[in-house]
Symmetry: C2
Subunit: 244 residues, 2 copies
DNA sequence: TTATTATTGTAACATATTGTTACAATAATA
DNA sequence: TATTATTGTAACAATATGTTACAATAATAA
């Protein structure tokens, strides 16, 4: 929700943005064997929300989503999937926004454009956790990773949006082979398996997993990784995209 | 695009609708071994378009989609899947709408609300062809079925929307078992197979198809159907939903 | 009545995929 | 040099899917 806009943009209807339309992003990362989601926290009020934004008047919808994610992660070339447009009339509760605005010294009128109904076109993004620099801004105190298993209470229907994002991610896991976007360039087979297990929420058998992924022909074995552990060193793998 | 609205609604910005937002529906039917799509044809100009509409100020997005499909098919309890929000800036070409408005005696100003940019949240609907009564209205001459294999040139990006709808339908075919919504209550196994083959665009082997579908435990064998053909009579089947 | 014909329902087998157990090959440490 | 934990993969089992084959009709023709 609202950020990066100059004062007159928060005050006047839209001002260069499409009215009634927002983009929200569920940005997934993977670290310490945990799926993480990047969340924003509003100044003073402490209310949590998904990173989001609005669509500029001449901006493609998908570009708006990419911009929103770029602004919060300092990344470019982001893997994004649009998964649902949330449009129930009562999804938009003006109370938290009123609280936030009041706490920040703006006394909003009831017909303020930010208090109107919004439809949110939602995307999930898959990013390399190690490359992200979480970026707060003037409006948000916080921009930080939270374990998916331990998400704080969120504004409006943002918890539902995260749940639906996870469902979409699970469905895309086999079809679109999206998991590699959550890994660093090189990774071991067991790291990859842990990621799959975390996303799917269930354990997988190691030999079957390894056989399956190698048979896809999309992994290149790079080198060995000496972990320092008292055991055989695992191979490192790299994802081979079609254009390489 | 625009329909059912009283004159002032076409003239003033939105008037009870959310601005900049539309809902479009790819309504699939199945008849004569062909997948069909319900298309609208504008009066006088002959321009083809998908059935669509706008979202009322206090209406749920999904309800708007259901209303749009109901208005064109005279059905209720429609199987709907939201599959994508189309939001490229240049998807909205004002020319065909200008042509249509001019042909219908409205001289539009350049900032007329209908000529502005729209984002289309698109749904596909699966309906029983035999139960549909195609409903034109004051704005549209035509509301009729067209073979998916033989769609006329459509307004704006509506051809792309149909292509994406078919992709989504194919993906949902196995996961969500949606095909039954395109069939009458009772059907033979070969009719069902033909539907699957038409949607997937490839032939399936009969014994494997029958074995697979029976093993799902979602079909109830009802009676035999004497086709009048010189061969064994096939069984009729009915889909068993969970709540029956 | 009795072949003939086209299609249906399903068994039977072949092949491919996935689930499971087992074990040799390490890399560090004791 | 033994011990330990983990890796890579072979080998077998169980399922699922692909394919061939054939008996069981329901109409028509002989």
């Amino acid at each position: 929700m609202y950020r990066e806009q100059r004062k007159e943009e928060t005050e006047t209807a839209g001002h260069g943005f499409m009215p009634g339309l927002a983009v929200d992003a569920v940005i997934f990362g993977f670290h310490d064997q945990q799926l993480k989601v990047l969340l924003m926290q509003y100044k003073k009020t402490g209310i949590f929300a998904l990173p989001g934004g609005f669509i500029r008047e001449k901006e493609n919808l998908n570009d708006a989503a990419e911009r929103v994610v770029s602004e919060r992660t300092a990344l470019k070339d982001i893997y994004l999937e649009q998964f649902y447009a949330f449009g129930d009339y009562d999804r938009y509760d003006p109370k938290p926004l009123k609280t936030i605005m009041t706490a920040n010294g703006v006394i909003p009128e009831d017909d303020h454009w930010l208090l109107q109904r919004f439809i949110s076109v939602s995307y999930y993004a898959l990013v390399d956790f190690t490359k992200v620099v979480p970026m707060p801004d003037r409006i948000f105190d916080g921009c930080a990773w939270y374990d998916l298993a331990n998400i704080p209470e969120l504004m409006q229907d943002h918890s539902l949006i995260i749940r639906k994002a996870l469902t979409a991610l699970r469905a895309d896991l086999d079809n679109k082979l999206v998991a590699f976007n959550l890994m660093p360039e090189e990774f071991t087979m067991s790291e990859l398996q842990t990621l799959y297990e975390t996303i799917l929420g269930k354990n997988l058998l190691r030999p079957a997993f390894q056989r399956k992924l190698l048979s896809l022909g999309i992994l290149e074995r790079v080198a060995k990784k000496w972990t320092g552990g008292a055991h055989k060193a695992p191979y490192l793998y790299r994802f081979i995209s079609e254009n390489n």
